[in-house]
């Protein structure tokens, strides 16, 4: 048996397609293993479907490296996050805790948004107050926002804890307090009047990060911006856990983001092990069922054969798609249901093929000699018939894997997939649904499609490389 496996690899590696296929599949496996180790198990529900986590990402932003190719400098997301204050100034009745962030803005456009997030605040008496200031490179300073931490409730006991489970996020760009402050600033400094509504619509960021011109437009002001978050604590034991300031960019990450701000590179990576899982599980179970039933059907014959063949006929003739739609309506979309359905509808094809092979093998002297020796039916099927079909079965399994992956992608694309899991099909579907094609979100639409094709191709290349083993007449001369 050793020799046969060795021969298999030798044959596989001798062909161009085999080599490429093996290289790709090794890459796929390594990436998938990496993802499995690094990602948490409930990634789908807890992270991907949790919009709060993605709040600080720009929406529908192309990948960060596109900046290299664009003529003008796009803003990249800058995140400042710390638990440790820059300065702590104790006082008589209040302790002032300062968080200072220096943002060096070099882009030709303003940030797409600014936000602040505070978490894990504890106090004993009076709730702390936080003030957010920004000092522009031209020296102007704007007090943007003032946050008073919610006071104690009637039955609460000290110490009072706020924002410990979920940090509190303020989208400064969309906050009406900030808008007023900016509007006043513009009036005072530049003598420009823009109503609050207009400012909200056009975006407060351009005003904060720009200088108004005569034509009513703003020029981006580049330079170092000093963001100051001053927290006033009224008790020594009061504390601020974490402070985070985000200046959103218009490009983000390695593969960009979708309309929910989700980092697509994270989602796409998750797709690797999922695709392999779907492909391999669906194809291996289908192969096991199809082969076993094919051998039993072909060898035992009679009523067993007839019933298995009729079952195969039934399943081949039931239309797959309507059943799936029906099931997802009843049970709800679920990855395991999809895999199960794929298996149920794929085994008949293999069974019918294997059965013909077995019928031919059965007429040979090998089976006759085994019966004469006294071998049981099970032994003949397992030990003598199955090995003769094994090369073909193995090739079928390899070939079926990309079919399963494509089927799942297609199903997800049609909206029948499991939306909580970022499979490639799902990402594609969401992209299309949000008009990705029309608006030109290429970084969202193209990568999942390309990855599906590459993965499918990998298996096809391996199957092609293995062909001479299945059909010895195709053996390549060495």
């Amino acid at each position: 048996m050793e020799e046969r496996t060795q021969n298999l690899f030798k044959e596989l590696l001798s062909s161009g397609s085999g080599k490429v296929g093996i290289a790709f599949i090794i890459a796929l496996i390594i990436i998938s293993l990496g993802v499995i180790i690094i990602y948490p198990p409930d990634f789908g529900l807890k992270y991907w479907s949790n919009p709060v986590l993605w709040a600080d990402n720009p929406r529908a932003a192309p990948p960060a490296w596109t900046n290299l190719f664009s003529s003008y400098n796009q803003a990249e997301t800058v995140i400042f996050e710390t638990n440790i204050p820059t300065e702590r100034i104790p006082g008589v009745s209040t302790t002032k805790v300062l968080y200072t962030f220096n943002l060096n803005h070099k882009a030709d456009e303003p940030p797409s948004f600014i936000s602040m997030t505070v978490g894990n605040i504890k106090y004993n008496n009076r709730p702390p107050v936080l003030i957010v200031n920004i000092e522009r490179p031209d020296g102007n300073k704007i007090e943007l926002y003032r946050l008073i931490v919610p006071g104690p409730l009637p039955n609460e006991v000290t110490p009072f804890a706020r924002f410990s489970e979920t940090p509190f996020r303020i989208q400064l760009s969309g906050n009406h307090e900030v808008v007023s402050a900016v509007s006043n600033f513009l009036k005072q400094e530049f003598d420009v009047s823009i109503s609050n509504q207009d400012l909200l619509l056009s975006g407060v960021d351009i005003a904060v990060f720009g200088t108004p011109q005569d034509d009513g437009k703003f020029d981006v002001l580049m330079g170092v911006y000093k963001i100051q978050v001053d927290a006033f604590l009224y008790n020594e034991d009061d504390s601020i856990g974490s402070v985070k300031f985000v200046a959103g960019g218009s490009v983000h990450g390695f593969m960009g983001t979708d309309t929910l701000g989700r980092d697509l590179s994270i989602g796409l990576l998750f797709g690797f092990p999922v695709a392999l899982f779907i492909g391999l599980v669906a194809s291996s179970i289908t192969t096991v069922i199809g082969t076993s039933l094919g051998i039993i059907s072909g060898y035992i014959g009679g009523k067993t054969d007839t019933s298995i063949q009729r079952a195969a006929d039934i399943f081949t003739n039931i239309p797959l798609l309507p059943i799936l739609i029906f099931l997802s309506f009843i049970v709800g979309p679920n990855l395991f249901i999809i895999i199960l359905i794929l298996i149920i509808f794929s085994w008949p094809g293999l069974t019918i093929l294997i059965r013909s092979m077995v019928l031919q093998i059965r007429s040979g002297q090998l089976v006759e000699s085994s019966i004469t020796l006294g071998a049981s039916r099970l032994r003949i099927m397992l030990r003598h018939i199955f090995p003769q079909t094994a090369p073909f079965v193995f090739a079928q399994m390899i070939f079926f894997t990309p079919s399963a992956i494509l089927a799942e992608a297609a199903l997800s694309f049609l909206g029948l997939g499991d939306p909580s899991l970022p499979t490639w099909g799902q990402i594609l579907e969401y992209g299309f649904r949000n008009g990705g094609i029309y608006v030109g979100y290429w970084w969202w639409i193209l990568p999942p499609g390309i990855l599906i094709v590459i993965t499918a191709m990998t298996f096809v290349l391996i199957a092609l490389g293995m062909e001479p083993i299945i059909n010895p007449r195709l053996k390549r001369g060495h």
Partner: protein
Amino acid sequence: MKETRNRMIRLEDVKMYFQSRKGLFKTVEIKAIDGVSVEIDKGKTLALVGESGSGKTTLGRLTLRLLKPTAGHVFFEDLDITDLEEVHLKSFRRRAQAIFQDPYSSIDPFMNVHQIVEEPLIIHRIGKKKERNEMVHKALEDVRLTPTQEFSNKYPHMLSGGQRQRVGIARALILKPEYIVTDEPVSMIDASSRAEILHLMKNLQDKYRITVLYITHDIATAKYFADRIAVMYNGRIVEIGPPEKVVKEPIHPYTIKLLAAVPEPDPSNRFKERGVVEGEPPNPADIQWGCRFESRCQLQKEDNCKSKQPTLVQIKPEHYVACFLKDKDKS
């Protein structure tokens, strides 16, 4: 009356009819074996000689119960194995084995020689690993596939046809069976190696006192290795007797023609045509009344030939013939 204790195999008026579909609605009955009674004594070799359509292979299968006869009985020693179910036949299978014609397809290409020869021991749960290894070693020595260690690890595709056939023989013998059916064991082996395999089989038969049914179309090899030759034609035995008698003094018209067709290495052969049986071999699906050979027989026929089936009648000591024209000369 022979001692029944000496008898290994006995067939009693065995018939084997197959149903074959002809067209959409018609089925035809193929009479592969149409009334055969024969015995084989222990330790003896019976050669079953015939051409295609004679039913010899079917008869061999019947004695191994690979088929159930349509009528008649098959006895193995005193045991009637005609209707036994497969489960009850397992102990019989230990005592009755076969060596097949095609050394390329009767052994599993996915198993090595050791595994192939060991398999019967595993099926019948004989011995532990160590004992089995010794038995395999001995079997390979018996068939002279030595050094046995070297051959044990080889796979069938690495062996010649003759070597593969020896593996088949080793496998058949490892259970020390009492009865072996061998169907054309050397027809797929080179002419110059055939005698070697046949000699080997004969020696092993003598050594282990095995009863052999040797099925072949080659009456010449049957002459050397059998204690009795039975000539079959279209499902019936037409002549049976000791080899020298059947070959040198054949009685049945078919036997005579069969022997005339065997080429001997004589350069004058090319100047004369052989007196052969004309026409085509019989189609076992055709309904036959009377003697099976009648349509191709060139002798002067009598009335019985067309209407009744001749039975085996003793003409000379140990020599029987089924022919209405010949059973008059009794000596």
